[in-house]
């Protein structure tokens, strides 16, 4: 049981696909201009991850090794097509905004990696737990990034839905750059750097900008 817990937590935090492993960067940057888009993209990806994980785990003994990767892609593409059709039918607004990036889930490194490196080597239960962990890890990361950018860029959270929250008051002048491409890169860069700091076990405030290592070197020199 402990192992399964670990599988789950790993994906959420210590091996977070976005902030630690830096996988599937394209959608991470492209769709996180609002928390809504981030959340939806995260869920869509999680669904494919989940489905592909189960199927690939079940098929692990059936698929011959030579055609492993192509088969994975077919399986993934099938689930992506499902997501695509469903989202276009039920969430046309968001699907419109995400446009290209729903089909591009097919080539998301994260899903391919989990299929290849994990799901096809373990039993279905572990594959499911892993997919849930990674999927949620991916989803919260996207929502988090989308949230930051949306708050800075619009002053709101979850725009485009009925439960939109006005986080910052009228006084706030929206910072347009946050929702531009440049803002995507910069926000992610800063968050990943912060993650590096937090994940570093010997973390101290001095380390925040890497001072100590350099200073030590100067002193020995």
């Amino acid at each position: 049981m402990a192992e399964k817990n670990r599988d789950f937590v790993k994906g959420l935090w210590e091996e977070n696909p976005v902030f630690v492993m830096l996988l599937g960067m394209c959608p991470v940057l492209a769709v996180t201009s609002t928390a809504t888009n981030g959340l939806f993209m995260g869920l869509a990806t999680s669904f494919v991850l989940f489905g592909a994980g189960i199927v690939n785990s079940l098929l692990q003994n059936i698929i011959p090794d030579e055609v492993r990767i192509p088969s994975f892609i077919v399986v993934i593409a099938t689930f992506v097509t499902i997501v695509d059709l469903v989202s276009r039918a039920y969430f046309p607004g968001i699907a419109e905004q995400l446009a290209l990036f729903i089909p591009l889930i097919i080539v998301n490194c994260l899903i391919l990696n989990r299929s290849e490196a994990f799901a096809s080597n373990v039993n279905v239960l572990r594959a499911i737990i892993d997919a849930l962990g990674r999927g949620l890890g991916f989803t919260w990361a996207l929502t988090f990034l989308g949230g930051i950018r949306e708050i800075l860029g619009f002053g709101t959270l979850f725009r485009g839905t009925e439960s939109v929250i006005q986080v910052l008051g009228e006084w706030y002048q929206p910072m347009l750059i946050a929702i531009l491409p440049a803002g995507a890169f910069i926000t992610l860069g800063i968050v990943v750097a912060l993650f590096n700091v937090i994940m570093d076990e010997s973390f101290s405030i001095k380390d925040l900008f890497g001072g100590t290592a350099a200073v030590e070197k100067e002193q020995t020199a």
Binding site: Q173, M175, L176, I177, A178, L180, A182, I186, I205, K206, L208, F209, G210, G211, T212, A214, V215
Partner: protein, 307 residues
Amino acid sequence: MDNTLDLTVSSAPHVKSEETTSNIMYQVILALVPVMFASFYFFGPGAIYLLLTCGITAMLSEVAVQKLRGKPVTINDGSALLTGLILALTLPPDLPLWMAVFGSVVAIVLGKHIFGGLGYNVFNPALMGRAFLTLSYVVSMTEWTAPNGGVDTLSTATPLEGEAEVINLFIGRVGGSLGETSALAILLGGLYLLYKGYIDWRIPVGYLGTVAVLTTLVGEQGASFHLFAGGLMFGAIFMATDMVTSPVTKKGRWIFAIGCGFITVIIRVFGNYPEGVLFSILLMNMCVPLIDQYTLPQIYGEVKANG
């Protein structure tokens, strides 16, 4: 083996020139004095507030980052102050001060210290601050007030969008950013820097020359308007010439300058943004590492060796 003499050893050379980094920075600040006076003359005390805000914020940010990183604080070298002043001079006179603060912090932290501090930055820090503000607060960054004694036709449009007499542009009696309006003051500072050898003539000449040639060919308003309007003069003399972010080779500087001129004209004539100086210099900053690598001068004796 006693040694009462207490000698020092080091490898050659044992003498060094008197020039220092901070001296260079303060000389450039000195060259900015006419521009700062002009900004005060045309825009009144508001100019001083902006200059002070940016200068002080930039220096405080520098201290904060260096303290945080546990590095020696090098506030005295003048580089942060210079960045702050240059940033202020590129801002519209009526910009809310909190935006100026924000821009200065971005310039120092994002423009300079994420790369490791002075000397390591790839992009011109002041321009980074300005670009960040431009893209964040489009409206505030494009509201120009008419200067004292100016022609009062430009209260909302940037000089590049309105009609303006070239002589007014030259002296600075048009709306615009603090330090960009008076070509006269900028040229004064520029001549001083050229005379002192703190900037390479190739960059302003190449930059302005390219703009002049191209606007004569394609521009509707003619070369003299383009040369003196907007931030071109200030950019060509004080920002494109920033040592850290321009090429070190002579050939490279020509390429850099001509590239800046080319992109500026493209943006001014075809682009969405009225002003191209800011982005053209940033875009060329990006190319500097490559330019440096591929414009190595022919070394002494290389011709014959190959021939």
